[in-house]
């Protein structure tokens, strides 16, 4: 089968759905049908790329020269397929969930919501399949713009302020990335993502290397939530919960960490990173972020904000894994991209279900809710166990590889950070579970039952996936094999 055009179609399919979504704004069921249809087709398209990705094949499609020597190019390598699979797969869950949430919450402007969502997914898959930095930047900026209407969806003062903050951070980041790309292009004459990096033959000075790296880090670090660039993310929780679930736990922030790994493994390469001590910069920042974000999570009473800080911390797990510069560490890092996604999306789904069903946003008011919403809270428990790294949930697997990766590199401090952070995760999730199960609920809970199946089925689905991936990381999609192949390609470039 000729797979050459599949990456392009996978990007375009949700973009093609946008006009249909806009045209059927008066018929909600038809409108949502388009979203689901696009989601399923997109996922299937990405899935057809899986066998070739597992064999290590790279499908490359050069569309046109967008600037001399710089083509607009799609490249479905193993890493790209890996990220595209998780993003497009979870979009289907989110689409169903969105229907339940948006209708249950009587949100306005749902057409704009679903249309923007579709554009976001196109951009995310575009990011996954970008063959060079310029293509990456184009989709990266597109993602920024498409997410903006979702962040300000409520159109309240708070929402608009969050939107401004979001744009300030992400547009600045985009510019830094453009500057970094410009300098890289001037030095290397290429912007193509190459396993093992493109700086290998360039005579770099120490200060120049650090400056370029910091520009890159400013560019991708904002979406990756690396402190001190993270503060847009908790504010962006003003968005509807499905947005927080898919974009602020999967698509947008994972595009950031995806970018970090692209920069570390495919632009600089492990050798250059180590030569100039760039990985140490990254490691220190990630370590601080993990600990500080976990501590800040304690201080949040609003459930979504607590989850947001937890996300900031867990994103830096991935960054830390990339900074270790060991194969095992990178495998752990990539595994955490997909596994954190299934767990955190579950938790956000739960938070949204509680909000729609019981109108509760603050943890302090969530006494006894497990009696009313048993399924939701069961899923919530699974998700939080996983994030704390307790087996058999998949978070354990990725954390295990991260820790082994650190030991493989002879580093103890990262392991200590992971252990402390695990304890902190238990610390901030356990009180919620305790409240829900063991404290007596107030009278306001009477007459309420479990949330609508549109919400409960997706959240149970992602919770079950989290356990299944924990039992067998290679189940269905061979995430582990793919991560191994990518790590091998970076550390042993041909």
């Amino acid at each position: 089968m000729d797979l050459t055009y599949i990456p392009l179609y996978a990007v375009l399919v949700s973009l093609a759905a946008v006009p249909f979504i806009l045209l059927s704004s008066k018929k909600p069921n038809l409108r949502e049908f388009w979203t689901i249809l696009a989601g399923v087709i997109k996922f299937l398209l990405v899935l057809t790329l899986l066998p070739s990705a597992l064999q290590g094949n790279v499908i490359e499609l050069e569309l046109l020269e967008i600037a001399p020597n710089l083509p607009l190019v799609f490249k479905a390598d193993t890493f790209g397929v890996f990220f595209a699979l998780i993003a497009s797969g979870l979009w289907i869950f989110t689409s169903f969930y969105s229907i339940g949430y948006m209708r249950g919450h009587h949100e306005k402007k749902q057409t704009r919501y679903f249309a923007s969502f579709a554009i976001c997914l196109s951009s995310t898959i575009g990011i996954a399949f970008s063959g060079n930095l310029l293509t990456f930047i184009i989709f990266y900026e597109m993602l920024t713009l498409a997410t903006y209407p979702l962040v300000i969806h409520s159109e309240t003062k708070k929402g608009i302020a969050a939107g401004r903050k979001y744009l300030t951070y992400t547009l600045t980041a985009g510019l830094l990335l453009i500057a970094a790309a410009g300098i890289t292009y001037a030095l290397t004459g290429t912007l193509e993502f190459t396993p093992g990096g493109i700086f290998g033959d360039v005579d770099l000075s120490q200060s120049m290397a650090v400056v370029i790296f910091l520009l890159f880090l400013g560019g991708v670090g904002v979406k990756a939530g690396i402190m001190p660039l993270h503060s847009w993310l908790p504010s962006a929780m003003a968005a509807p919960t499905p947005v927080s679930a898919l974009l602020h736990a999967v698509a947008v922030v994972k595009s950031g960490v995806f970018g970090v790994i692209r920069v570390v493994g495919f632009i600089f390469g492990p050798d250059v990173m180590a030569e100039f001590g760039l990985n140490e910069i990254l490691m220190v920042l990630a370590g601080i972020t993990i600990i500080v974000a976990s501590l800040l999570a304690f201080a949040q009473d609003n459930l979504k904000r607590r989850l947001a800080y937890s996300t900031v911390g867990h994103l830096s797990y991935i960054v830390l894994g990339a900074a270790l510069l060991t194969e095992t560490g990178l495998i752990g890092s990539m595994m955490h991209i997909s596994f954190h996604a299934t767990m955190k999306i579950t938790l956000f789904f739960c938070a949204g279900a509680i909000m729609v069903n019981l109108h509760k946003k603050d943890i302090s008011t969530m006494n006894g809710i497990a009696k009313v919403m048993p399924w939701t809270m069961a899923a919530f428990t699974i998700g939080s166990m996983g994030l704390a790294g307790i087996p058999p949930v998949n978070g354990f697997v990725s954390k295990w590889y991260l820790a082994s990766g650190a030991l493989e590199g002879g580093m103890i401090i990262p392991v200590v950070i992971l252990v402390i952070s695990g304890l902190l995760n238990v610390g901030y999730f356990f009180p919620i579970i305790h409240r829900a199960y063991f404290k007596k609920g107030g009278p306001e809970l009477e007459g309420h039952t479990e949330a609508s199946p549109f919400m409960v089925v997706p959240l149970m689905g992602t919770a079950v996936l989290s356990i299944l991936f924990g039992l067998n990381p290679d189940l269905f999609f061979n995430f582990f094999d793919m991560a191994t192949a990518v790590a091998a390609s970076i550390f042993n470039p041909i």
Binding site: L64, E65, I66, A67, P68, L134, I137, I138, E141, M142, T144, L145, P149, I152, E155, T156, K157, I160, G163, R164, L167, T168, L171, T172, G174, L175, L176, I178, A179, G182, I183, Y185, A186
Partner: protein, 497 residues
Amino acid sequence: MIGSEIPALIPVTYILFAILIPVIGLWKREITWHLGVLGTGIATLFSAWGFMHLIQTGETIRYFFGGWVPPIGIEFVYDGLAAFIVLVINAIAFLVLIHSKEISKVEFPGKKMAYYAVSMLLMLGFNGMVLTGDLFNLYVFLEISSLSSYALIAIGEKRAPYSAFRYLIIGTVGGSLYLLGVGFLYTVTGTLNIIDMHDMLPMVIGHSSVIAALILMIVGVGVKAALFPLHGWLPDSYTFASSTSSALIAPIGTKVAAYILFRVVLFLFGVELIDDQLPVTTIIGIFAGIGILYGSIMAIAQSELKKMLAYSSVSQIGYIIMGISLANPFGFIGAVLHILNHAMMKALLFLVSGSMRLKEGHSLITKFDNSYRKKYPWTMAAFTTAAISMVGLPPLAGFFSKWYLALGTIENSNWILLAVILISSLLNAVYFFRILEKVYLNNPDAESSEETEVVERDEVGFSMMFPMAVMAIGLLLVGIFNAYIVNVIFTMFPAGF
């Protein structure tokens, strides 16, 4: 062979129509709009034809007027750069004049005939400036265009004649300085022909009057290009002029002046000679950089759309001049591409502001609200496209000119100007998203956030929508296919690259 007559045919078209419009206009005033559109349309066709011809043959056309060979006679030099700029300005003028149909009926009902006749003269001046190969002849065309633009700006609000008068004073000083510079060069080299003079300059470059001439010319042209700090005339003139005059002059006028800087700095003197005595390019670069930031910051401070766009023009012209000051291939590509991009973006934005003035009777940003989204969905979509392009987000055209300019600054290791480009993009985002927020979102401060009043769609007519749509789509196409244009720009490089 008609291809080689193109350089003469374009100005002749404008002269013909400048005479035709008053003559026929006296008899039938209604058809002056048609004639204006026809005139610019024919000129656009000629320039498109000439441009294609030039790309195919790759030969510069040197047209000697009256058959007199330079340096005795006057010649028009139709090279790649001139052909490109001529095409851009004529096409923009064509679209702007189409858009002026409705506005002219409202903003200056009794002066239609004068408006279209003078705008033909304006275009004659601009085209002449671009095409001529003779420095003194250039001054003549400069004055033709300047005098016409004073007249066009004076057609407008009550305060317009005042700002036009101010522009007249400043502009005349600028023109005179340029002429003085040309005089100095003439006394030293004995020629006025650019190509001829370029060959002679190496012999006299150490002469103090050459340096004085260079400074005088840059300052003189700088006034016309609104290079910071010589921009004082621009904001008021653009704001108080009628919407269609500012849409005509703003995207084209300063570009043509910037083009003269191209010719003087990169072609007449050339990269080898320009910095021989004084660090001219560095100094221009500094002023361009300050101008970019100054214009952007002032634009944020404005509450009137047209005035905001005027300050934004000061900033954007800085980009083009920065590209010249970099004096390297990437800077050149960025600057030339930005002439095209900014002409489209700024024309589109001024057309939107004109449409708003026509429909709402004002273009005060503070009064914008989210009913516009319902009333003028397509106009607002076009505005959004231009705004995003101005901010410089890919894949719209604005990104790519900034990309090449950024590469140019990197090649010169000029980190300060790189930072200026990045910061100014953010400032652009501030002043455009502020408007987009107002247009697309509910006002959270309003009494009721509910949209109680039902707003009917009240989109502008075809004559206004068509030019805006062409430019908005153009921005996307130029962005995606910019490599083709850049490959053409490669052929326009001055000697020494």
